[in-house]
Amino acid sequence: MNKKIRILIAKPGLDGHDRGAKIVARSLRNAGMEVIYTGLHQTAEMIVETAIQEDVDVIGLSLLSGAHMTLFTDVTKLLKKKKIEDIIVLGGGIIPEQDIPKLKKEGISGVFGPGTRTEEIVEFINKNVKK
């Protein structure tokens, strides 16, 4: 039997909009994954630390405030610095189209905006996590 996929849903920065993060967390749990939710106000260091401790396969970052270019890439840069290459990082929130290629270049493998079906995220994770 395959090991369950482990995922950390995180809210970086000061943004308190947690509707999306909570819905995604619950959907992934219902899809059979192990979900850890950080709660609000996380720094990149806190997120990466939790990800290591919890031995997750995926980090899902959620942000509405518009600070994604800085706060999402803070996490991927820190992972790179720590030479952690086996964690997939995903992002979701209010993200303009033109920022998506830039985020992907910085190591955010999947970007999910408003209107995304939660199954799409489940499918993406199932496809991209190597087991």
Binding site: I9, G13, D15, I23, Y37, P96, R117
Partner: protein, 558 residues
Amino acid sequence: MYDKQKLESIKKKENEWQKNKYKKITKNHPERKESFENLSGIGIKNIYNPWDNKDLEFFKDIGFPGEYPFLRGIHATMHRGRLWTMRQFAGFGSAEETNKRYKYLLKHGETGLSVAFDYPTLYGYDSDHPLARGEFGKCGVAISSLKDMEILFDGIHVDEITTSMTINGPAAIIWAMYIANAENRGINRNLIGGTIQNDILKEYIAQKSFIFPPEPSMKLIVDTFEYGFKEIPRWNTISISGYHIREAGSTATQELAFTLGDGIEYVKAAKERGLEIDKFAPRLSFFFNAHNDFFEEIAKYRAARRIWAKEMKKLGAKKDRSLLMRFHTQTAGCALTAQQPEINIVRVTLQALSAILGGTQSLHTNSMDEALALPSEKAVRIALRTQQIIAEESGITNTIDPLGGSYYIEWLTDKMEEETYNYFDKVEKLGGVIPAIEKGFFQREIAESAYKYQKEIDTNKRKIVGVNDYITDDEISIPILKMDEKGEHRQINRLKKLRKERNNQKVEKHLHRLKKAAKGSENLMPYILDCIRSYATLGETCGLLREIYGEYEEPAIY
């Protein structure tokens, strides 16, 4: 409202019609859906008749606008006398950029201002605080000191226009900046008017921009109530908000019940301090969401007015003015789609209509591009024009409460009131609003509703045009607001210069006095004002209170 015999005959006739007509037809031509329900999950019948309003008494439950129970409107003349205030929530980047946006909106016919602050400001941090990283001016304007406030309102007649400020944790401090700016310009305090949101309970419940724990937060709020009615008589010292509860995923009924529950909690807290209810109650205001289900929203606003008037009477209010639920409305941000953004104009129109038919005092209409970014000039102008078209062209303002007496609307208004009281009972059993927050009751209720709503969309049970039906492959091509890249640099330099050039001895003195006062029970507003007048920054003033009061941490529930 109807005589008993007539009602019986109507009921009899309806039963016949349901059986002999409706059932017969739907046997061969079934209805489009198995069941019809609104967004709160309330089942909706195929038709409503006087029988559905059989328990309503006209004078007791419906009545006239401007009279108890204020179901039909808080003013006798409503929108025939004065239109609602067209108030677009706006703020981004630096104070200079936002000042320009306000002047643009005013030039195009906006009649009230509404300030959106960025995250560092909402949390009481200066723009150069390490935790402000990446957030400068992102979802609001950055205001770190009175200097920034001066720039924000430069050239704007704050003695003539009212300003609403969405600020909660540091509300007293930001309000002090507004007051101090008016003072510096020689404007009489009796002339400035506006609103601070100042509603911390819904921050714990839904919006999550909290700083201090509940007890000191409530203390600060009551300080502003008291200072307000004594010193700044035209100011609404709170805007008790359902908007964010709804945006976090609640149903309309939950929005109504949780918001009014919060309102009652504030009244009790102020009464406990010994404030006279008829002094502070006229300055309480409310803020609701306008979501997609048209009639449900209208019923929500009507029910809100009636429940509030009843509850305020129970709490001991004697003056009519204390019974009035005055409210602002914003169309639902969470109902906007990133897909085919232009069609949001239509959604917003319908939502705005419901707010106006529901008797709102003030309205913000969302811009079509807000599921993508902050609104561009063109998008916000169309949003404002939407209100102007409804006001000037549609004719719906010709009469007051035009849907009053609709069998369906009256039934639904009543139903929502009933469900609100059910929630009041539940919260009471948990020990009141704050214990219920600490137990995660509201948070769980909201998360549950948000998840259910999303699943309905995911499974196509609920259709959203452009998202799960009527989809196009067209690329989204809409201009996105560009911010001044030099804004953050300018702001941080201004802060550095301010900290160097102001009279730092004076700043220290006032901060020290505030610190001393904050350890006791005195009203802090005069002390905060002194700090702000001496150009102490938001971060310094709020940081000091943080030291004394501590910070709130919420349980992470999903």
